[in-house]
């Protein structure tokens, strides 16, 4: 079980020498307890203390690196069951599976796609992570050739899927130095698989259905000297996966079963609910996911969900305050003020774009709070609006002096008018109605004047 900081402190030399980088032994102990420091940083620990601490202070889920170079990724080192307790750190790698019996062109096409395809969202490029080659042909030679073809196209992380040691050996000739993930060691072949993994320094998937069986297999493989392990609980249904992956995560982070302290593998192909398997894997602790080459719709949705779930939930995503253009607004275009909570921004922007009325969005700094919360917390004030109008030069951008404010900010309308000298129009509370509002209120108003 996990040691508390004070228990750890008792084992430390209590010299406060600072050589570990921490000011005192107690602060170092607190870091160790949180899994945030390495025991080896302390030069004065005796061997016995090291052994005790080593087992309980390493991160509860081992970090495993797959691939080399720019596209390599690391998984594991997670600490919580719920992202709101802290955050999830290492997004699952998603790799497209292809059989070695596929035509060369198809293998090349999938590899090229994973190499170059990227969706840009909120300033990040979202990409799939690599290729999983399956030894569907059963032939070692065909398997090795498929891997060679892929390696000639791109340096992507690979998963090598075969029950056959000879096929894996042949494939590893082409990619053995690039840390591919080997799938999989089972109760019957683990000795050979461990020796392959050790020989090439590759991470290894252990596959067993049932956590007791998985735990046994981990014991056997670590005894064989395999270190970088990934666990495949071989789920037979979505329910089977959520049960086993939740149990693995909980037993690992509470250190109830150190053997289960490794990242989880999930093959989402097969049972006809692939999108569901992918979504479930993303929210429920999968670390390496092997999928079929997804169509555009599933590809975008899954990468977006992964981005959402691996965003720190404590941090409101903020937009930079400023004046944003929708379309090509001219001097008569409406100006809509709102807050810099990114969700508010993107929602409003979407509806404005579909209204086809060019306009300006004046984004003020409410520290990422939504309109409702900002009004309630007093973060949205008339002076903030006044200063933003000046700072972002709104008066030179438009000829009129009318400002549309969110419906929820209506209590501030009088004060904003006084502070800015602008006429305030209270818009709808629901962004979905903004197009209607602009057509009705703004366009008609323009006609009247």
């Amino acid at each position: 079980m996990a040691l508390k900081a004070l228990d750890i402190y008792k084992l430390l030399p209590k010299k406060n020498c600072k050589e570990c980088g921490d000011p005192t032994c107690l602060t170092f102990a607190m870091k160790l307890a949180g899994g945030k420091a390495d025991v080896d940083l302390c030069p004065y620990l005796d061997e016995q203390a090291k052994t005790i601490l080593g087992a309980t202070t390493r991160p509860p889920i081992k970090l495993v690196k797959i691939g080399v170079g720019e596209r390599s990724f690391a998984v594991g080192e997670e600490f919580v069951l719920y992202r709101h307790e802290k955050t999830f750190y290492h997004p699952p790698g998603i790799l497209f599976k292809i059989g070695d019996d596929q035509p060369v062109d198809a293998i090349i096409a999938v590899t090229k796609r994973v190499k170059s395809e990227a969706f840009t969202r909120v300033g990040s490029d979202l990409q799939f992570n690599g290729i999983a080659v399956e030894n569907a042909s059963g032939s070692a030679e065909t398997f090795a050739r498929a891997v060679e073809i892929i390696e000639n196209v791109a340096d992507l992380p690979l998963v090598l899927i075969s029950p056959d040691q000879a096929a894996l050996s042949a494939a590893l000739v082409h990619c053995g130095t690039y840390r591919p993930l080997i799938h999989a060691a089972t109760a019957t072949n683990f000795k050979e698989m461990c020796s392959l993994a050790k020989q090439h320094g590759c991470p290894l998937v252990l596959k067993a259905h049932g956590l007791a069986e998985l735990e046994q297999l981990v014991k056997k493989c670590t005894a064989e000297g395999a270190q970088d392990l990934v666990l495949d609980p071989a789920p037979v249904s979505l329910n089977d996966f959520i049960m086993s992956s939740t149990a693995i995560r909980q037993l690992a982070i509470t250190r109830s079963s150190p053997e289960l302290g490794y990242p989880v593998y999930l093959d989402t192909t097969g049972d006809g609910t692939e999108d569901a398997m992918i979504a479930l894997g993303i929210v429920k602790y999968a670390a390496v996911m092997v999928t079929s080459p997804l169509n555009q719709a599933s590809a975008k949705a899954s990468l977006t969900l992964r981005q959402n779930i691996y965003t720190d939930p404590q941090k409101p995503i903020q937009m930079n305050p400023g004046l944003y253009r929708v379309g090509n607004p001219d001097k008569n275009a409406p100006v809509l003020m709102t807050v810099n909570f990114s969700l508010t921004f993107f929602t409003l922007q979407g509806y404005l774009e579909s209204s086809h009325i060019p306009c300006f969005m004046l984004i003020v700094d409410t520290e990422g709070l939504s309109v409702l919360t900002a009004v309630a917390a007093g973060k949205l004030s008339e002076s903030l609006v006044r200063d933003a109008i000046k700072k972002f030069g709104v008066e030179t951008e438009v000829g009129h002096r009318s400002l549309i404010i969110p419906g929820y900010a209506s209590p501030l309308s009088g004060r904003i008018e006084e502070a800015t000298g602008w006429k305030v129009l209270v818009g709808p509370r629901d962004a979905a109605e903004i197009g209607d509002f602009l057509h009705e209120e703004w366009e008609k108003r323009k006609e009247r004047s």
């Binding site: 037979v236 569901a276 509806y351 579909s354």
Partner: protein
């Protein structure tokens, strides 16, 4: 030591009944009891909960409804009863959520038409009904009163109460024994606060469904997902003011950029995926009513829930 999850939950999710059959004084062919969970969603191997319900959303004035849905469903979107019938008979929904968008026109006053619409919808389907009333405080009272009265005995779910605006809807729910949706902006504390306000004016806990507000995938879902997890977690830890079932309705899904601006050939596919990923992940976080607007999302969710639901473990053959 058993290799299984272990939680020391002290609370459970309260139950809410939706819809009334003839024997209960209504006219629905089925009624649902949602809630009752005693652990995290889908980890209830010992006493498997039923699958989450899938609600199909329709409206009585499709002018501002997603063009993707209007195109897919065709002309029946202009005939609310026919559309509702299709939702039950062809699309396979568990329940219907009717948005009275007609009341959102400017200067709307014709409250009697609301009663007529609700009546027609009740006769067009045998499924339990969720009704979304007006969006305008001035007519709230009349609209909700009319909905409540017309649906008397049917155990409707009325929406949507917010902290700044809940009295009219609560009055209608109390007078005619309906339940209500309580919406708060993605925050566990605000959700709790609203439930307390509702309790103080007499709404029983077993008449409240929490709507923590669902931002659509890529546009706020990262917050909604955790808000739902936290609500479920607090409920299981014993907070009775959060121990109500949740509803997920990502109403902006079909208008986000990725869907709205996608190539036409794959627009339905991407609309369905966007709804599916959002609704499915929300169910995993604890939502028990998943609302969708694209008919094709319904079967996809249903199939997934079939595999996600806890099975009787003794029947699982390895």
């Amino acid at each position: 030591m058993g290799l299984d999850v272990h939680f020391d939950w002290t609370g459970s999710i309260g139950e809410v009944v939706l819809g009334a059959t003839k024997s209960d004084g209504g006219s629905r062919k089925i009624s649902y009891r949602i809630g009752g969970g005693t652990t995290l969603p889908f980890l209830d191997a010992d006493s498997p909960a039923p699958s989450p319900l899938i609600a199909f959303e329709v409206c009585d004035n499709p002018q501002f409804w997603s063009p993707i849905v209007r195109k897919y469903c065709g002309d029946i979107t202009n005939n609310t009863p026919e559309w509702v019938h299709a939702a039950e008979a062809s699309y396979g929904a568990d329940l219907i959520r009717l948005y009275l968008t007609s009341t959102r026109q400017r200067n709307f006053t014709d409250v009697s038409s609301v009663g007529k619409t609700v009546e027609e919808v009740l006769s067009a389907t045998d499924l339990p009904l969720i009704i979304e009333g007006s969006n305008e405080p001035k007519i709230d009272s009349d609209v909700f009163q009319k909905c409540g009265e017309t649906g008397q005995g049917e155990k409707l779910l009325l929406g949507t109460a917010e902290a700044s605006r809940y009295r009219s809807i609560a009055a209608a729910a109390l007078a005619y024994d309906h339940s209500i949706i309580a919406q708060s902006p993605i925050d566990v504390n605000l959700a709790k606060q609203l439930n307390i306000l509702l309790r103080e004016i007499g709404i029983q806990r077993d008449h409240i469904v929490i709507d923590p507000y669902t931002g659509s995938l890529g546009y706020g879902f990262e917050y909604s997902y955790s808000a739902m997890e936290r609500i479920r977690f607090s409920a299981l830890k014993g907070d009775v003011d959060l121990a109500m079932p949740m509803i997920c309705s990502a109403i902006d899904t079909l208008t986000v950029k990725e869907v709205r601006e996608s190539e036409l050939q794959i627009q339905d596919e991407i609309a369905v995926r966007w709804e599916f990923y959002t609704g499915f992940a929300a169910a995993v976080a604890g939502a028990e009513i998943i609302c969708v607007r694209h008919p094709a999302t319904i079967m996809m969710l249903r199939k997934a829930f079939g595999s996600l639901k806890s099975q009787d473990r003794t029947r699982m053959v390895m």
